[in-house]
């Protein structure tokens, strides 16, 4: 029997607000344990939450980007469970009435575009972290993260393969990062994903028994975890077994999943409206304000790049994956109006250099003006493309302008025919064996003479001219 998988994702995204969701503590990462805390996020007796309006702004922004209906009135609810990283032993979340519902995202797949439904987007607060001592049987609690605002984005069970799920997850992340409301870092946990997965015989409507997958902290692991789980379900059903509804943990070291808790052990969170927070009103003015603040989103930008700049879809997708990169491209093209050349350079030299640099493009030592200048110098023949790469490396290393580097290092391209003819004559004279082999028909040796010429001019020779002169000079020797 052929099965198809049914996958829905629950994504938690940490919002990039300066202060926590319900108190004024900083959300700064990496401070000493428990230093970013106050009576409110510590859940001290008598303390009360007050919503950070920035968190609501960001949630509305994401809801609009996901084509959601925004509820004029939503409610905060308490999710009750005991855990030492949760000081109040309840999490302020939303349950029956989330901020936004009924949205969708168009996701690009190899097979075409697919629309994935978004069930809801709601706000909640993050929990702290437990640090387990490896030597002693004690655990420590760090509450710096407690109360950091999160949004949970719940999808419809619209994905059919692990690749689709990964593609949806990538577009979600891309949008969040575009909006500047989440840093999208999966390894550090500011972008987290749980998956619900089941399988059913292809063509059947009814859903199979699902399992919930947790602990997949990279795109690769989401895909691997889902693939494993789909395979596991398929084997069980093929062997005539039944799926147990349960929560399973992905183990990255083995690439498999293990049972965490069964349905019977599932928590009863005893949700009820949080009496400390009034019903949350989203005024139409706020929605309008956020609509105005909405930047161009990745897909729209990609389509515009294809249309306006005439670059291939692949280039456009790569360039629009991150907002600063797209901006860099546009800024460069605005000065140097050869989009394909700019795209080539950004996708190769530039991205290679920018890789492994944490701060990314924002603090890139090469700015669009200098890149445009460099490309201009290549185009007008001042330097060769090859020298251009050297200059670029120097630009990246020193932050200097390309014309300064070219002048200081004397890298201006040699395009003087008589000078190049002299150099070439000497090379031909110095390599009689190669010349005779060439004349005997081994024409591939032309590359050898080009190389020799470039070396003799320390790469500054205009390669096109060198080719032309070499052909002429060697032809002369034929007779």
């Amino acid at each position: 029997m052929e099965f198809e998988a049914v996958i829905g994702l629950e994504v938690h995204a940490q919002l990039l607000t300066n202060s926590k969701a319900f108190c004024s503590c900083t959300t700064k990462f990496g401070s000493a344990p428990n230093s970013n805390t106050c009576p409110i996020c510590l859940g001290m007796p008598g303390s009360l939450p007050v919503l950070n309006s920035k968190a609501l702004d960001y949630t509305v922004l994401m809801a609009l980007a996901c084509n959601c209906r925004i509820n004029e009135v939503s409610r905060f609810a308490r999710k009750n469970y005991y855990y030492p990283d949760l000081p109040k032993n309840y999490q302020i979340s939303q349950y029956e009435l989330p901020v936004a519902e009924h949205g969708w995202l168009d996701v690009d797949l190899v097979s075409g575009t697919k629309r994935i439904g978004i069930t809801r987007i709601h706000m909640e607060e993050d929990a702290g972290k437990l640090i387990h001592d490896e030597k002693k049987s004690v655990s420590y609690v760090d509450l710096n993260r407690t109360g950091v605002p999160l949004i949970e984005i719940v999808s419809e069970p619209d994905m059919r393969t692990a690749e689709e799920a990964a593609a949806y997850l990538r577009s979600l992340r891309s949008i969040l990062v575009y909006l500047g409301i989440c840093d999208g870092n999966m390894e550090e946990g500011s972008f987290r994903c749980d998956a619900n997965v089941s399988i059913r015989p292809r063509g059947r409507q009814a859903l199979g028994t699902k399992t919930e997958l947790k602990n997949m902290n990279s795109f690769k692991n989401v895909q691997k975890g889902l693939e494993y789980e789909i395979e596991r379900h398929t084997e069980i059903l093929t062997d005539g077994g039944t799926i147990v509804q349960e929560t399973r943990l992905f183990d990255p070291s083995s690439g498999s999943t293990v049972s965490m808790r069964s349905k019977e052990q599932a928590h009863d969170y005893r949700y009820f409206p949080d009496p400390d927070l009034l019903p949350l009103k989203v005024e139409p003015e706020l929605v309008e304000k956020m609509k105005k603040a909405m930047p161009e989103l990745p897909r729209a930008k990609r389509d515009r790049f294809i249309k306006d700049f005439g670059i291939p879809e692949y280039d456009a997708s790569v360039l629009t994956a991150e907002r600063p990169l797209a901006q860099f491209f546009e800024d460069t093209v605005a000065i140097f109006a050869n989009p394909k050349a700019v795209s080539n350079w950004i996708m190769t030299e530039f991205m290679r250099a920018a890789k492994g640099q944490d701060s990314g493009l924002i603090s890139s030592p090469v700015n669009p003006a200098n890149l445009a200048k460099l490309l201009g110098m290549i185009e007008d023949g001042t330097i060769s493309g090859k020298i251009g790469k050297t200059v670029f490396e120097e630009m990246w290393g020193t932050g200097k302008a390309p014309d300064d580097i070219v002048r200081e290092k004397g890298l201006v391209q040699v395009s003087d025919v008589s000078e190049l003819t002299k150099v070439i004559a000497k090379i031909l004279a110095d390599n009689p064996k190669e010349v005779s082999r060439y004349l005997a028909g081994k024409t591939q040796l032309l590359a050898f003479f080009v190389g020799q010429t470039m070396r003799a001019t320390r790469g500054k020779a205009n390669p096109q001219l060198v080719n032309e002169i070499l052909t002429v000079e060697l032809d002369k020797l034929k007779n």
Partner: protein, 486 residues
Amino acid sequence: MPNLHEKSAAELAGLLRDKKISAVEITKSALERINTLEPTLHSFVNVYPDLAVTMAEQADRMIQDGSARPLTGIPIAIKDNMCLKSRKTTCGSKILANFTPPYDATVVNLIKNEGMVILGSANMDEFAMGSSTETSCWGPTKNPWDTERIPGGSSGGSAAAVASCQATVALGSDTGGSIRLPASFCGVTGMKPTYGAVSRFGLVAYASSLDQIGPFARDIKDIALMLNLLCKHDPMDSTSVPVQRSDFSTFLDKKPSGMTLGVPVEFFNKLSNQDVERSLTEARKVFEKLGVKFVELSLPSLDYGIAAYYVIAPCEASSNLARYDGVKYGHRAENFDGMIDMYCRTRAEGFGPEVKRRIMLGTYALSWCYYDAYYLKAAKIRTLITQDFKKAFEGCDGIFCPVAPAPAFKIGEKIDDPIQMYLTDVFTIPVNMAGLPGISCPAGFSSDGLPIGMQIIASHFQESKLVQLVSAFQRETDHHLKHPAI
């Protein structure tokens, strides 16, 4: 000056202004009174003579340099569930017996800025759950009128302290009658303001949607002064309502003639105590003489008030009290085996039986299969009660009714019968359910000399009407001027 402790805040403020006495003298007189009476009454969990004298000295400096405010130098007791920075705030519970808050409640801040003098923390039912102050882990407070009886609860310590002149005024909190009931049983005036009128920030929560802080005093003038201090919008409390507040003192001398009081038939049908009936009838006559009209009205949904309250309040409490787990502060069990066992033992040891009862009730009622049947239904009843009141206030300025079915009962009389204990609050609970302001004012005495209070309820943010009505009543009567012979 003799009998300094018996003077009202308004009188003391006058003497301080005229420099006839100092705040330190007043404070020392209060501390002496506390010393004398505490072994008998046990109104306080902690008395802070050092803090009180320091605050009194500060008050005297404010008076000297002309920065005194209306209540500067007045001694106050605060209920043991309001956070007082660097001093113990125990909520009458073993689980918080060693808890010292690192911050002040908003009301404590207001008191400090006013230059009032905090004498100590007043005894209360554990986590404000009770009607008698018997569930305090520190033992019960005695009623100053009869020390074999309870003072009412849960703010019994605050009421007893004011009634016995240990403190001039006090703060209590009222979730289902916890200010009005002890005010009635102890013969003092006590008001629960509109929900959202006084900040709850720093008030250790029992049932967040019902809790409200309010004042105790020996007359309405002092209540008005306290309301002026307390009723302020607080951005730290999302449920605090930003409304324009009037000067409540300006309503003290307004004549009530032409005002209308509603009499809910359901309430009076329930009355079986002759003393309460007689006191209420006499009080009604006083108002009628003042030109106040009475109309009968019906509040049919109020019959379900107690049932709905004992779903909503425990539900919220079960969640509010979840934080007491031994991990961060408060009591932690000494011997345990693993994390879950630590939670269980800590809470088993730290909470008393009434608190446990309500946590279990609430946990059950919120559980997945029962949520609709209990919490949701109770929330609907709450809406109906609110609508009943709203309709009633279309035809009257206030609702006139008893505070409690009978005067103060004996210590131990109801502690083993929770249902009987809960029924004590039958007339006060609906007011919290609807978030309305309600006042308890001395209206007479039982044949055996126990105080009996009347309750007047007003529409949202109409505390000024309560001040106006009770002020007129207290000008005509002397129940509030009587002191217990202690």
